[in-house]
Amino acid sequence: MKKGIMRPGHVQIRVLDIDEALEHYCGLLGLIEMDRDDQGRVYLKAWTEVDKYSVILTLADDPGMDFMGFKVTDETSLEKLHRDLLDHGVNVDVIPENELVDCGRRLRFISPSGHTFELYVDKKYTGKWGIEELNPEAWPRGLRGMRVQRFDHCLLYGDELDTTLDLFVNVLGFYLTEQVLDDDNSRIAQFLSLSNKAHDIAFIAHPEKGRFHHASFHLETWEDILRAADLISMTNTAIDIGPTRHGLTHGKTIYFFDPSGNRNEVFCGGDYSYPDHPPITWKSDQLGKAIFYHDREINERFLTVLT
C-alpha cells in the first residue's frame, strides 16, 4: 500500500445472460444485488464489504473481464499515481464520477499484459450488509447460497509479465509475494499483494493478452468450501476442480464456472505475507503440485480454459 492503493474494489464481468448470471452470483455465491443502471449493468456486493458494490455484471456477446478496480486511500495519492503512470509512459483515461453508480472519478489504464485496471478513491459507503455498525452480530441471517464474504482477487492471463510486474511494483506499490520460475528462471506466474493477503492480483504467462482466468471470493472455513461444493452439485453448476488445496498460497479452494463460462473460485485460508518476506518461489517442474497440491498434476483445463 506504499503508493496509496489500498485494496481490490471491484471487477466488471461480461456475461451472456443477465438473469442466469444473477441466479449464479446471487443465488449460488450469495452476493447481494444493490443497484442497476441505465446501461443494464447490475451491481452486487458480498456481505462483509463496506462499500456499495464490488461486482458489476454487464451483458455482452463475449464473456470475460472488462476491468478490475482498486481503491486508493486519498485524492493526493490518486493524483500522484496519475502523474507516475504518465511518467511511466502509461496512457490514462479519466472516467467521470457516477459513470459507475455512486463511484467517484476513476483513472483507467491498460497493463502490458493487456488488462484494464482502474484506480479510484470514493465509492458510496453502505456498511456491511445485514448487521448493525454498533455491537455487530457475527453474521447476518438471510444470506443465500455459499454466503461468500468478499471479492478477494483476480487471476489474469497475458504476456509481458516482467513489464507488468515493473508497473505494479514500482509505480503502483504492490509487492511480489510468490512466483513460478521456469527452467531458464523466467517468471511464468506472479502473485502480487498490497496487504497481508497472499495475493490481491495474480498473473500467469500466456501468449494472448488480456484474458480472464477467474474472480475469487473468500469463505471463512474448509467446511464452507465443502458446503460450496455441495451447492455446486445441487445446482448442476459446471465445476472445474476441487475441493482441494493449492501449493501456491496454500489456500483451500474450489473452481467452477458461471453460466457464461467465466471461472469463479471460492477459497479460504492459506499463507500471509509482509513486504519484508522474500517471494516464495516454485519451479515449473513442480507446477502440478504448485497449482493443485494434492493431485500434483497439471490440469489442462485449468491452464487453457479462459474467457
Partner: protein
C-alpha cells in the same frame, strides 16, 4: 417434450444418443470416443468447438469470439450450447480450429 436423436461423429465413428433437451457436449463427452474437450460448459471458452456437417440444430448463447455468426452458419459451433433438432452428423477432428 423431449425427442431422442442420434449424433454420428464422422471422426471417431461413434453413434451416440442425445435428446432435444440435452446439449451435445454432455452426450458425446460421456461416450469417450469423440475427440472433444470439456471446458467451461457455458459457451464462453471455445474448447468444445465442433463441426456440424448435417442436420438441424439450435444453439444457446455463445461467445462471439469463439462462435461468430458466419461460423455458426457453417455449422462450427460450441457443443456445450448445441441442441439437436434432427439426427446430426458431426466432426470432432482435432484440426477444426479448437
Amino acid at each position: 417434450m423431449s425427442i431422442n436423436y442420434t449424433i454420428h461423429d464422422s471422426y471417431s465413428g461413434a453413434v451416440i444418443n442425445c435428446t432435444s433437451e440435452q446439449n451435445v457436449l454432455s452426450a458425446i463427452s460421456l461416450d469417450g470416443r469423440c475427440n472433444v474437450l470439456v471446458g467451461c460448459r457455458g459457451g464462453g471458452c471455445g474448447k468444445c468447438r465442433i463441426d456440424v456437417l448435417d442436420g438441424q440444430f439450435e444453439c444457446g448463447k455463445m461467445s462471439r469470439r469463439h462462435a461468430p455468426e458466419e461460423a455458426i452458419n457453417k455449422g462450427k459451433v460450441l457443443a456445450c450450447r448445441l441442441y439437436p433438432r434432427s439426427d446430426l452428423i458431426i466432426n470432432t477432428a482435432p484440426d477444426i480450429g479448437k
